[in-house]
Symmetry: C2
Subunit: 335 residues, 2 copies
């Protein structure tokens, strides 16, 4: 069974919702959990809320990474935050994956310098799985690298494909390059150059995708630079909230009879759009699986993030990426 390291002090609802989520994972999935953070506080919180800590091992530290700290603080020596310790444990093979709802910037920094990048991979990219009309898709880079070179975007495509194939079970996922038009001449130099590289990458490259087609879900891997990706991710969230609000307002008038007719559909739709269902963002490009859970995660979201981390580890995504990078670099040398 997978052993998952969890930062007990990341996110707005820590440690209570973290511990609850871990308890669910132990009960439902048989996961082994290593919690990082203040042992006293964890035990106190668990006992006050009648949560069993059975199956959880605590690695104690009093220090917590503050969400307002500069990301680079995470790698300063002597800072034994619950996040840094979690990543050190992961790096030392004490667990199979790490989950934290702390600062994305710090996680990317820590993943890069503590857990370290996969050989040949240039950048670590946070990659959320977003809901679409048909299925879901992985978006990367969702915010870490605001300036990218074409070869980085190709690596994002490789990593996203490996994830969708091995974790989500999609064979030969369709890869699309986010652009302002479908023609290969569209966009900035970044897009036109990336387009050429993706064409000969051996991936299932479907060409450019315009932003209006993203929600259709016809492509399962959408690649772009971290600035644009962050805009897409947040607009996706913002539009979701906007429409949820509007839908509530619309439904406030339909009366009980109408609501009865549609309650199951509404539930299904809400579930489809709920970020808590997908878990969190995978940090792609790191030697071992790291999952960034949403900052406002509740127990269910932590449970799903842990499940995702377990699938990430079991799916041998990292090995698959290593393999692909090796093949690609060998091919480049013979060209």
């Amino acid at each position: 069974m997978a052993k998952i390291i969890v930062d007990a002090f990341g996110g707005d609802n820590s440690p209570l919702e973290v511990i609850k989520g871990c308890e669910m994972a132990i009960r439902k999935l048989g996961t082994e959990i290593i919690l990082t953070g203040s042992a006293d506080k964890i035990k106190k919180c668990a006992s006050e809320n009648n949560i069993s800590l059975e199956g959880m091992k605590i690695v104690h530290t009093d220090d917590v990474f503050d969400i307002h700290d500069e990301p680079k603080e995470i790698i300063k020596s002597g800072k034994n935050t619950s996040m840094a310790i979690g990543m050190k444990l992961l790096s030392d093979n004490k667990g199979d994956a790490f989950v934290s709802a702390g600062s994305t910037g710090a996680l990317v920094m820590g993943a890069t310098f503590i857990v370290k990048r996969i050989k040949g991979i240039k950048r670590v990219a946070p990659a959320p799985i977003l809901p679409a009309d048909r299925g879901s898709f992985i978006l990367l880079d969702a915010g870490a690298n605001t300036e990218c070179r074409p070869e980085m975007l190709v690596q994002f495509a490789i990593m996203g494909s490996a994830y969708m194939e091995r974790v989500m079970g999609i064979k030969k996922p369709k890869v699309a390059l986010l652009n302002i038009g479908t023609e290969e001449t569209k966009g900035r130099e970044l897009e036109t150059e990336t387009y050429k590289l993706l064409q000969k990458s051996g991936l299932n490259f479907a060409g450019n995708i315009e932003a209006r087609d993203i929600p259709k879900g016809e492509c399962q891997v959408v690649v772009t630079d971290g600035f644009t990706g962050n805009i897409v991710l947040k607009l996706y969230e913002g539009m979701g909230s906007f429409f949820s609000k509007k839908m509530k307002w619309l439904y406030s008038g339909i009366g009980t009879v109408g609501a009865l007719f549609s309650i199951n559909k509404i539930k299904a739709f809400k579930k489809q759009m709920d970020y808590r269902e997908t878990g969190g963002s995978a940090l792609m490009g790191v030697k071992k699986p790291v999952i960034k859970a949403h900052g406002s995660s509740d127990a269910k979201a932590f449970f799903n993030a842990i499940r995702q981390a377990q699938k990430f580890a079991d799916g041998k995504v990292v090995e698959s990426i290593e393999n692909y990078v090796k093949i690609l670099s060998e091919r480049e040398q013979t060209e």
Copy 2:
């Protein structure tokens, strides 16, 4: 009364829906219309569909700008397309504004080289008005200039503010810089430099806006480069379609009783989200008002685009921008 030049052969539904929209504008607003395009085809279409051409003057040309042509074709001599002729008429002061549903790229090119830019303005930017939870906002650049310098974004802010103030009647519109975080150190060099310039611009600068807050509508002018702006515009449209589809599906189950309760709300919401209501994108930075109507515009959308063009001309937006640019350049010289 304003005299509006309209390209009869732009968009998917030309010339029928164009002529219908013009007829509505003449009847409801008392607009004078100059149509550009094949006189025979316009007259035949009007007579077949019982549309009166009273109040419309036709400036004949057989040539039409093909949507697949390269934008620069618009300024090649000898190409007297309905779009090029419309812009020449505008430049020659034969009308107060120009409306076309043709290619955005060609319109931007034609506006820049035929109608010409306002003195001191570096780039022409298409600027759609998008619906938000509270009111609406103008987004620029929505796709023309994929690479921008900070001073261009400041000019976009000036132009957007002038439009929202003089056409939409919003006093001191709030200007926001689209970014991946609210702190002024966030983003690329483009954003950090633009932030500093906007702070001392004299505009009502509200700081950075994250994409998730755009749909709330708390800022009325959102500025960004043309690549990012195009992604935002199209994702906005795409998410809108996605949710409309979902809403139909949800409502298909509520039954007649429920639907009766909410029909007015649904109508109000649909109207709020309907691009046909706002008209089109204003081409900001041009010496005279040019409106790019949506490619799939119907009569109602053309009517609204003509009304928008009229307000654009009546509001003296161009004069307001000229004035602001002058003040700003004088201030720079004394600094």
